[in-house]
Each structure stands twice: as structure tokens, then as C-alpha cells.
Symmetry: C2
Subunit: 160 residues, 2 copies
């Protein structure tokens, strides 16, 4: 428990409730936070994307659960976890030994924010479609989410 | 997008929709998946725990949003991301260079499952309390979640 609580404090979580900036977060913690959020997003979008493209059998329950979870997780506002100084891997860190963040994140903050907002809107549409239960609408909205992902990754994530 | 979609496939996400085991996941991907889920859990439980202990001003909106998100994220079933062979750090991996998983996870699978179920129940209570809007009930339920976290970590996570 000690370690668990320590995490909460180290991560500057007070800021979450008080509205303070996450700027005080250590780069190591910020990198881990954002990479973890993006990985959970990927874990949930994976099946949605596959179903939307017809590469996996449509399962309304899984699609809906993942769509609503994506909306909820994205509301964590991953953009807050890119404080100044978190643009490079933390040397010797086992939890933040790399980052795929491009320098454009810090040189074009408005554009970066806009790209995130694009996914917020696409996920709102996805959640609405999931609640409607209309398969065609759900699949179309899934495609919209994929485009919003790509839009941001193209500009702000290093290609491998 | 290519990499994003690749992630989805590599992670064995088809399994999520079809009910297949996650046993085919590569250890590297499983370790990253579970660590990311647990980190997102910690990011959300941090403020809930602090508020429950009176170490942070109570904010009903933040508490409620985090409580519901915890329930949703925990429904991803993190226990599936401990396939055989994922008990050790993956040498040379930048995404799975360590794991705090104890061998007991694989030698006592029933107990491990029971410990996870303990958190499921505690999070259901937390979500119910949050929906009731009763501050005292919310804080009490937050304490229950902390105990469930500790219960599993004591037995199945390496102490540092």
C-alpha cells in the first residue's frame, strides 16, 4: 500500500482535483502516465478498429464496452502528461527509457491540443453510436476514431 | 496508423472479442498491457485514496469520475495478461524490461483470481457509493478499494 499511495503523490495527482498544472510531474512519471494511457486506449481500440474494418466478427457487447471505456479513459486528458522536460527518454529509467514524442508537441501546443480534441469528438460520436446500437453507425464511427488517431500520430509521434 | 493497427493485432486483441485465451500473447506485450492497466488504475485511485483519507479536499465530481473509470478499466480483466512465460523481464526490451510479478501468480492461480475478484467487488461498491452521492459512503468505499489493492499486492507483487 505504501508504494501504491506513494505513486499517487509522486504523480502529482493532487493536481487532478485542484486544477493545478501537471507541470511539476517528474519527466519519468509523466512519460509512464501518458504511455500507459495510450496503451490502454490501444488495447480498447484494437477490437473496435478490427470490427469496424470487418477484420473481426462484430460483437456488439465488446464493441460497446470498449467504446464507452475509450471515452472514459480519454477524459483523463493525456495532453497534461507532456510537461516541459519530458521530451527525452530518462536515462537509466526502467519505466521511461524511451519516448516516441516529437518535439512538435512542445513547439506547436495549439495544434497538439486540437489533434487531441479531434479524438475527443470522434470518441463522443463513437459512444453515441454504440448507445444507439446501430451496427453500421458504430462501424462508421470506429473508422472516424482511427482517422483521429492517425491524424495526431502523423504529426506528433515518431515513426518506426 | 500502421503501427497502431499492428499493436492491436500483436496484442492478441481478437481474443477479447472471441473469448480465446490471451495465452498466445508475447510476454513483452502482456507485461506492457498489465503494467499499463495497473498504472491507469493507480492514476485514478490516487485522488480517490487521498480524498478518502482526508489528505486532499473532497471533490465529488473528480471522485465520481475516477470511481466509474476504475470500474470500467478493471473490467478489462488484467488477470488475462499474465500468460505463462511472462514471469520474467524480457531481456533487451524497452517496453518490458522489468516485472514486479511474483512467481505465486502462476503457482497459486485460484488465490490470484480471488484477489482480483476482491477488487472487482470493492470497485462495484465504490461505483454504487459514488452514484449515491453520499460523501461518507464514498470515502468508506474508497478505503475498501485500498484494502483490496493491498491484499493482492502483498501476495503477488514484489516489494521494493
Amino acid at each position: 500500500m505504501k508504494r501504491f499511495v506513494k505513486y499517487g503523490i509522486a504523480l502529482g495527482l493532487t493536481a487532478c482535483a485542484t486544477g493545478l498544472a501537471y507541470a511539476q510531474m517528474k519527466p519519468e512519471d509523466a512519460i509512464r502516465a501518458r504511455q500507459s494511457i495510450m496503451r490502454v486506449v490501444a488495447l480498447n481500440f484494437g477490437p473496435v478498429s478490427q470490427m469496424a474494418q470487418g477484420k473481426m466478427a462484430f460483437n456488439k457487447d465488446v464493441f460497446t464496452a470498449n467504446a464507452l471505456r475509450l471515452q472514459s479513459v480519454w477524459a483523463m486528458n493525456v495532453g497534461r502528461f507532456f510537461p516541459a522536460g519530458s521530451d527525452k527518454a530518462v536515462e537509466g529509467s526502467k519505466i521511461a527509457g524511451f519516448t516516441d514524442a516529437k518535439a512538435d508537441i512542445w513547439s506547436s501546443p495549439d495544434k497538439f491540443k486540437q489533434a487531441q480534441e479531434g479524438l475527443t469528438q470522434a470518441l463522443d460520436k463513437l459512444a453515441a453510436a454504440a448507445k444507439s446500437g446501430d451496427e453500421a453507425a458504430m462501424k462508421a464511427a470506429g473508422g472516424g476514431v482511427g482517422k483521429a488517431c492517425k491524424n495526431c500520430h502523423d504529426d506528433f509521434r515518431v515513426k518506426h
